[in-house]
């Protein structure tokens, strides 16, 4: 369903942006997105491992930050540029994992292999980088997702030490909390992280199959979801977002009938509302360009009994809610695109007996 109405809310599919591309118009295994000024969105692409035909030349393809506008309807999107690439030098990342933008529109990218945060200006110029390790505690580290609070401090999940760490945006360590476990306030491979209007922290507790709500200093407040595939349950949640109404969005890898990938919506009390499974019935502008340029793709698309598999999410990894335009951006990793849902307040329901 393109439009779903549930519990007084409307989730109205808008359009998708992206296609598979190692550079330029499109994304490559995107893992996270952050809002810039106006309609600009920064999309962090994990890329793929690639090897040219010599074994000593290991390369990652497609890793970069894409700068794009997404518009408000199909075809509005515009490619603005890109920066960063696979590597361990300045301005490069191996496993880009999280992205955030500050009030000066500096872009922060976390790297869960190098365990560092790299800072760029909005044109992609490298400004600096800092280690996201708080101390030499002997734990393996995997700096995963990130979010910036109202004071522009950064919360980072660490999927391998099962912690959340807090840093100033210039890299000063401010504290950490959490440990491995299944209890309240404990984590098993935490991944996505976000904040609500009141400053509460929400963590996608990936391998505990739940989302935890905590105070900014790590005191457990509530748990959303549990392992399973029934309503309100989840399998390996990856990303989390909260809208200004307090609704909580969780993307996970439960099956949607074609692929692993759903977005579950909960109200602020943790009551399950509805699930989205992906609705990209229309190709994005850039994806359509690829098809139009390749007659065999066009023919192949005409012989399938349904295009439904491409509508659906495939391993979504990130969520961003745009509070100004009241829309949810779902980072649809395997399909290298964003799927965008509006949450209108002025929706006029059609007559049911039309």
């Amino acid at each position: 369903m393109l439009t779903q109405v549930a519990a007084g809310r409307v989730f109205d599919y808008s359009h998708s942006v992206g296609r598979g591309a190692q550079s330029g118009m499109g994304f490559n295994q995107p893992v996270a997105a952050a809002l810039g000024a106006g309609d600009t969105v920064y999309v962090l692409n994990r890329g793929i491992e690639g090897i040219s035909n010599v074994p000593w030349n290991r390369i990652g393809y497609g890793a970069r930050v894409s700068i794009t506008t997404i518009g408000s309807k199909p075809g509005d999107e515009e490619y603005l540029g890109e920066f960063g690439k696979y590597g361990s030098g300045d301005g490069e990342f191996i496993w880009g994992s999280g992205i955030a933008v500050d009030s000066a529109e500096k872009i922060y990218v976390s790297d869960e292999w190098l365990n560092q945060v790299t800072v760029y200006d909005k044109s992609g110029k490298f400004l600096g980088k800092w280690s996201a390790l708080d101390k030499a505690d002997g734990l393996p580290h995997g700096t995963a997702s990130m979010v910036m609070d109202a004071d522009e401090n950064i919360f980072l999940t660490d999927s391998r030490s099962h912690q959340v760490r807090k840093f100033s945006k210039d890299g000063k360590f401010l504290g950490s909390w959490g440990q491995f476990g299944e209890g309240n306030g404990q984590f098993n491979s935490p991944w996505g992280i976000t904040l609500d209007n009141q400053g509460f922290v929400y963590v996608a507790d990936h391998k505990n199959h739940r989302v935890q709500k905590l105070t900014p200093d790590g005191q457990w407040v509530a748990t959303f979801g549990s392992y399973g595939t029934r309503r309100g349950q989840m399998v390996r949640p990856t990303g989390v977002a909260v809208d200004p109404d307090g609704d909580v969005y969780v993307c996970d890898w439960s099956d949607n009938g074609w692929h692993p990938g759903r977005v579950h919506v909960f109200d602020s009390s943790g009551k399950f509302i509805i699930s989205l499974i992906g609705d990209a019935q229309q190709l994005s502008k850039w994806a359509q360009m690829t098809v139009d340029a390749n007659l065999d793709y066009l023919r192949a698309r005409r012989r399938v009994p349904t295009t439904e598999p491409e509508w659906r999410f495939a391993l979504p990894t990130g969520l961003t809610f745009d509070p100004v335009k009241r829309r949810l951006l779902v980072v649809d990793n395997q399909r290298s695109r964003l799927q965008i849902y509006n949450k209108p307040t002025d929706y006029m329901a059609p007559q049911l007996n039309l």
Binding site: T290, Y297, R301, V304, P309, A314, L315, Q334, R335
Partner: protein
């Protein structure tokens, strides 16, 4: 307390039924007992399975990999290195060798990986059921053109290979049987998939098209009927030749190097009694692979076949990675690692033909041998790796070691490996240059670590290390 022979026998079992094991694991299993270990290997469900999402979490490209050569085997290598169900994974490798299907034609790693998943899930179950599922595998259907096999235009590729390479072997059927078999599989195809561009890979699904199936009378291996594919598989499984064919494959893969498949029609088995025992068990158990493997691993001919077969490249790579340790996490470079068997002559998921790889000494040429030695020597040279550290700790626990003791201890911990006296003497001559192995000062420790690294590199360069 396990004897040295118990240890050697358990190491032999774990090399064949798995990808080798650390000395700690070998000792623990030897203490538990040989037959108990065989039962544990035959019942993998008691061990936790590898979760592919632990890999996808960090390497999302492995979900539906592109067709960059060799990279698509990354997930499989991850499974081989991490599995706690070694025989399950070894059987997947076995069936991949028998039912060889390659991306060179299929051009979708994920579809061939789905076959590996089938082998992992059903490889120790009923052969007849596995064969039926194989006939429905989209990768196989495309690989052997059954999607082009129509009621009014028969394509014999799948029908021919089903008889020649997947069940009975050459000489046990006629050209008419091939034709009739192929007719029975008309209509077995798949639903077309969305193209790979612009949004990535999608899936094929098996589809039976009744309107494209030739439902008329057929005569197959002397039997008449309006046979469909399942009927053909039933008849195939009743043939003594099928049991013999599977038995020879099992012998070649698990026991000792045999003549290659094309020669089986004219070359008798290396051990006819063993083949008879395995084929009888296969038939008596109603084609149960688990029952057949139980007899194989508990047989004297298996126990007496130590170092009687050359390791395949996959065994060299996965086995050495498991030996040295530290490669369990899906680090950057996993894709490159997955290409190593390819460099040694075994491009996983992409066999050279439907006949699979030729094994035994045919694995070895000057290039592939160099690759094997360089790869393994590079890995064991790193004394920071946990598996090498474990060897060093065991050597240290023995105190000062003479050059002879040093060599013997390393050969023991790397296998135990059995080497000819001349080879041992060459290793001792090398060790003699450094004198006794000592650990009593920081400088001695540093020097001894270096010497262990050197000696291990020499050991993996030996002919003996290439044998399982």
């Amino acid at each position: 307390m396990p004897t040295q022979n118990d240890i050697a026998l358990m190491a032999h079992l774990m090399r064949r039924a798995g990808f080798g094991a650390s000395r700690e694991e070998i000792e623990a299993r030897a203490a538990k007992g040989y037959e108990a270990t065989v039962e544990e290997l035959l019942n993998p469900e008691v061990q936790e399975a590898v979760d592919r999402y632990d890999l996808i979490r960090f390497q999302p490209w492995t979900w539906r990999p592109g067709t960059i050569q060799g990279m698509g085997a990354a997930e499989w290598l991850y499974f081989m290195v991490n599995t706690r169900r070694p025989l399950e994974e070894k059987m997947a490798l076995f069936w991949h060798q028998v039912f060889a299907t390659g991306v060179s034609k299929v051009d979708h790693y994920d579809e061939v990986n789905d076959m590996v998943l089938l082998f992992r899930q059903r490889g120790m179950g009923n052969y007849k059921e596995l064969l039926t599922e194989l006939a429905k595998s989209p990768a196989m259907i495309y690989w052997l053109d059954n999607c082009e096999n129509h009621a009014d235009a028969v394509n014999e590729n799948w029908g021919r290979e089903l008889l020649e390479l997947f069940s009975m072997g050459v000489g046990n059927y006629t050209e008419v049987d091939v034709r009739e078999c192929s007719r029975a599989f008309t209509g077995w195809t798949f639903v077309p998939k969305l193209p790979r561009g612009p949004l990535g890979r999608f899936d094929w699904y098996f589809q039976y098209r009744e309107e494209d199936h030739d439902d008329t009378e057929k005569t197959f291996l002397g039997q008449n009927g309006r046979f469909n594919g399942e009927d053909i598989i039933e008849i195939i499984c009743q043939q003594p030749a099928t049991a013999t064919f599977i038995a020879r494959h099992l012998y070649n893969f698990f026991v000792a190097d045999e003549a290659q498949v094309p020669a089986w029609a004219v070359t008798p088995p290396r051990d006819q009694d063993a083949i008879d025992l395995l084929s009888d068990t296969f038939r008596d158990s109603n084609f149960d692979m688990r029952a057949t493997l139980r007899v194989l691993f508990n047989s004297d001919f298996f126990k007496n076949a130590r170092f009687a077969r050359l390791k395949s490249p996959a065994e060299v790579v996965a086995g050495t990675l498991r030996l040295v340790g530290g490669y369990e996490f899906p680090s950057p470079g996993l894709g490159e690692m997955a290409r190593q068997p390819c460099y040694m002559g075994q491009d996983l998921l992409n066999p050279p033909s439907v006949e699979g790889w030729h094994t035994g000494t045919e694995w070895i040429n000057s290039g592939s041998l160099m690759r094997r030695v360089n790869f393994t020597a590079d890995l064991v040279s790193d004394v920071t790796k946990p598996g090498i550290q474990s060897i060093i700790q065991r050597l240290r626990a023995k105190g000062h070691l003479s050059p002879e003791g040093f060599v013997d201890a390393c050969l023991d911990l790397m296998g135990p490996l059995e080497v000819a006296p001349r080879i041992r003497q060459e290793l001792v001559d090398h060790a003699n240059a450094g004198g006794s192995l000592r650990w009593d000062t920081p400088q001695a420790v540093e020097n001894s670590n270096k010497r262990v690294s050197e000696l291990l590199q020499l050991i993996v360069s030996l002919r003996e290390y290439q044998y399982a």
